[in-house]
């Protein structure tokens, strides 16, 4: 590091320890302190050149003790520029978690121009050549990374997306996930079927709310009908869909429960909801204030309070393959009539920190988010109090509520970064997701 961080004194605050972060302006490593004010946790850091940054990272500590369980220390060293080494060089030898999923951008083009976009995609841009993608898929498979997320940009703008999927499967990728805004899936009859036949496993559908006002604010146009059509197309093609809302305070945090209820009503096509509290990297409208942020516990609370009893706060568990405060999950099956049967319980010993946590998570999400047409055919006649009936229903109507808090340059804690299992692969390095987009 070229600069020394100021020592931060917060005498009125309880001490939640120190970590490393970066200056949001120059990206240099800084010491950062977690400071408790009331029941909320803030990350405070000072760059001698660019000033002090004081950012909320967790609202409501006392209700979520499991997210603050001790973890093994993880340390991310500095590179030659004074930034975290994984910003430039990729996963370092200190990285504490293996790869669960690999995200690769197949294009930088997009058919929307959203005011908020972590990838800062637009109408201009380029597709990654198919032979380069094939090389990446082969490299992933050789490393044992058999779960790929096709992302962008918007992957469906590529006319050869079915061929990209076939290439991934040929290379030995077992699970192919498509991250999409759903515009082409909703508009083009037969497209979902074409992708399914190519070997697509399931769809991660950008789905911010159940009213058009949300889409107008976040995506610049009304999109609800298109989203519904995309879900129906995937349903007919036998593809599972996980809804992915970017949660923004004052825009759609009041629709959390409605999104869950809608998702349940679309089971078994819809396999769950994956909430992503807004992060401020890529294309954002302004420098974020704390009022512009919603933290993971607030999303969990909103889900419990707005879902009309479908979901309880106690249903949620911390991330077990990333850092605990990077995510949550709750595991259910949808029963006939639309109620939720809770599935997973708390193990005596979490797998967090084990050498196979990323593999367990990979297997879990692939199992839950993939549809089983065979089990769907017989699931309505089954008694879930029997071994056979339970297994059939869980496989046919599995339903997860998950969340992931991406870190931006303001909220970054390098010890969380060191535990990231979602990695991005481009033509060069493999990086933790947040390191790639900060």
């Amino acid at each position: 590091m070229k600069r020394l961080a100021l020592k931060i004194k917060e005498p009125q605050s309880a001490d939640f320890g120190t970590t490393n972060s970066v200056c949001p302006v120059c990206r240099e490593l800084l010491e950062a302190k977690r400071v408790l004010r009331g029941d909320d946790l803030y990350l405070v850091k000072t760059c001698l050149e660019h000033g002090t940054f004081d950012t909320v990272i967790w609202r409501g500590v006392s209700d979520f003790p499991d997210w603050f369980a001790p973890t093994e220390p993880a340390y991310c060293p500095a590179d030659n520029n004074g930034s975290p080494a994984c910003f430039s060089g990729g996963l370092c030898e200190n990285h504490a978690t293996g790869t669960c999923c690999v995200l690769t951008e197949v294009t930088s083009r997009c058919n929307l121009h959203c005011p908020v976009c972590f990838a800062d995609a637009g109408n201009a841009g380029e597709d990654v050549p198919l032979d380069e993608l094939t090389r990446r898929f082969s490299d992933m498979a050789a490393r044992g990374n058999t779960f790929v997320q096709l992302s962008g940009g918007e992957p469906t703008v590529r006319g050869d997306l079915p061929e990209v999927i076939r290439a991934a499967v040929r290379c030995g990728i077992k699970t192919v996930q498509l991250n999409t805004n759903g515009v082409l899936l909703g508009q083009s009859a037969g497209y979902a079927q074409e992708l399914a036949e190519a070997g697509l496993s399931f769809v991660f559908l950008q789905f911010d709310g159940v009213t058009d006002g949300v889409y107008e604010q976040l995506r610049g146009q009304k999109l609800l009908e298109t989203k519904l059509a995309a879900i129906d197309s995937c349903g007919r093609a036998g593809l599972g869909v996980t809804l992915v809302p970017t949660v923004v305070p004052g825009v759609n945090d009041g629709e959390t429960g409605a999104i869950i209820k809608f998702a349940v009503s679309k089971s078994p096509t819809v396999r769950g909801v994956h909430f992503q509290p807004v992060s401020y990297f890529g294309r954002t409208a302004k420098t974020p204030e704390n009022a512009d942020r919603i933290t993971l516990p607030e999303v969990m609370r909103a889900a419990a309070e707005q879902s009309g009893g479908l979901v309880r706060l106690s249903d949620f568990r911390p991330s077990t393959c990333d850092h605990p405060r990077c995510g949550f999950h709750a595991d259910f099956a949808v029963l006939p009539g639309g109620s939720l049967m809770r599935i997973a319980g708390k193990k005596a010993q979490d797998c967090c920190g084990s050498s196979t946590a990323h593999l367990q998570n990979r297997e879990f999400v692939a199992r839950r988010w993939t549809r089983s047409r065979e089990d769907e055919k017989k699931s309505d006649c089954c008694d879930t109090g029997t071994l056979d009936g339970f297994l059939t229903r869980v496989k046919s109507h599995g339903f997860t509520l998950t969340g992931m808090a991406f870190q931006d340059a303001y909220t970054l804690e390098t010890e969380r970064l060191s535990r990231c299992s979602l990695h991005v692969q481009d033509s060069g390095a493999i990086r933790p997701f947040c390191a790639n987009y900060i």
Binding site: I343, D388, L391, V394
Partner: protein, 63 residues
Amino acid sequence: MSENTVKCVKCGVALVLTKTVFQYMGRSFTHDVPTCPKCGAALIDRELAKGKMAEVERQLEDK
């Protein structure tokens, strides 16, 4: 497995399929299992133990 082919080693009587309760991590499930009508001993064969029972355990355990 035919229920008539296996006898209870203790009682010497043929096992009969009986609805049996399995409990794991706070949940209960029933399944028909060959059971001795005299002493109640149940036979959990390898196929069931490594098949459905293992799969239910895997589903119930937190990821």
